[in-house]
Symmetry: C2
Subunit: 233 residues, 2 copies
Amino acid sequence: MSEEKSTGRRAATGAPRPTRRSFTEEQVVDTALDLLDDGGPSALSIRAVAGRLGVNPNAVYTYVASRADLERAVIERVLAAVPLGPLSDPGVEWTAAVIQFALGLRDQLLAHPAVATLMMSGPMDGVAARDVGEAMFGCLARGGLPAQTRAHGVYAVIVQVLGAVALEVAETDGKPPLPPESERIAQRRAALDEVDATRWPRTAAHLDEIAAWNSVDQFVWGLRALLTGMTAA
Amino acid sequence: MSEEKSTGRRAATGAPRPTRRSFTEEQVVDTALDLLDDGGPSALSIRAVAGRLGVNPNAVYTYVASRADLERAVIERVLAAVPLGPLSDPGVEWTAAVIQFALGLRDQLLAHPAVATLMMSGPMDGVAARDVGEAMFGCLARGGLPAQTRAHGVYAVIVQVLGAVALEVAETDGKPPLPPESERIAQRRAALDEVDATRWPRTAAHLDEIAAWNSVDQFVWGLRALLTGMTAA
DNA sequence: ACCTGAACACCGTTCAAGT
DNA sequence: ACCTGAACACCGTTCAAGT
């Protein structure tokens, strides 16, 4: 109906021309996250996103380059919501700060369980991941750890935290809200009744503790052990 | 051509009748693992397994209940090949035994990278996983750790080991053999050149160390820190 | 009991065409 | 520039039928 070239601008202008997109990339990513939260890991697809937005499947490719690209964006979105404040708060002792941060990261991932799985299956090199690393480096430096220990320590903590959350989430259907901890432990405990005590006697002697492997207590215990060991080294 | 009921046996006999299966479940699982090794994570499908076996897609359901079931079987198969000997060798100091076992598990998973990812996305409650847990319990008991510490410690080690391997593998294409460590580190180092030193100064100060996060050295360092911290507690 | 053949309801991605 | 429409080459799983 109107003249497309009415502005008469050319490529000489570095600024991108105003577009007439129906959505923003943020909306597309939000939709993807909604799908994951509503239906678990298998609910995310380009076609499902398109369907929820009311467009043809291929229209999604206006906003993301591929399904993998969309997944990266969702991960970034969730990671960016993790509180980093504790790590740079000079009033909090550094190991307490790491634990507080780790609990916040865990909360965020348990709120979007399907994303936790996604995070373990691709490189974490986005802006939000960098921010996390940077804040961790700051915290360990504040703790007085020598440079080498700092670098090893930052990654060891990330491994412990993401590993624990991923294994925790792997036992759920990936749809938030997850059952409360007590319920998930009880379910594990019930399943452990099937363990053959003749074949795995030492395991059978620890059924209650094993059932609680998916607990905050275990999470913090592992992290504390790691932090203690890092400091000793 | 022949009489199907020639034996005349009935359901009263508990033993299953002899079958005329074209394959064994083991062959099907082997085929699945071959597909993963040849083509990475996305290469595994029921239809691809069927294709490689030369049968119709649904014939695969004679041997596995579902795709998820097949994945569980593949994980079990890989996990069963991890050497547990070190953990029960009384001649090896217990922390050295854990590290030796962990390196063996890492080797096995780096040889089948796609399986490492699979392992983080489902519950690990198979026979092979139980055997690993049992051996770990034995090792930590031999180390003289009190019962409570043992239970926490076994899981913390599993988290650290599987978390590290999963993140390591997540940066590859999942097809063995993976490039040698030096090459993978060099590639990470090159990518890190893009890091904005103004925005992430502490990160920028550690580019060489961060590039080496995917190394055996880092792997052992994290594990040692954890073991040290566990002993102190 | 185990296979084939056919079908259902999906995928990600690409291409050509419209506006 | 962004959308529609159509297509290609896939999925997991189910059902009915053959042997």
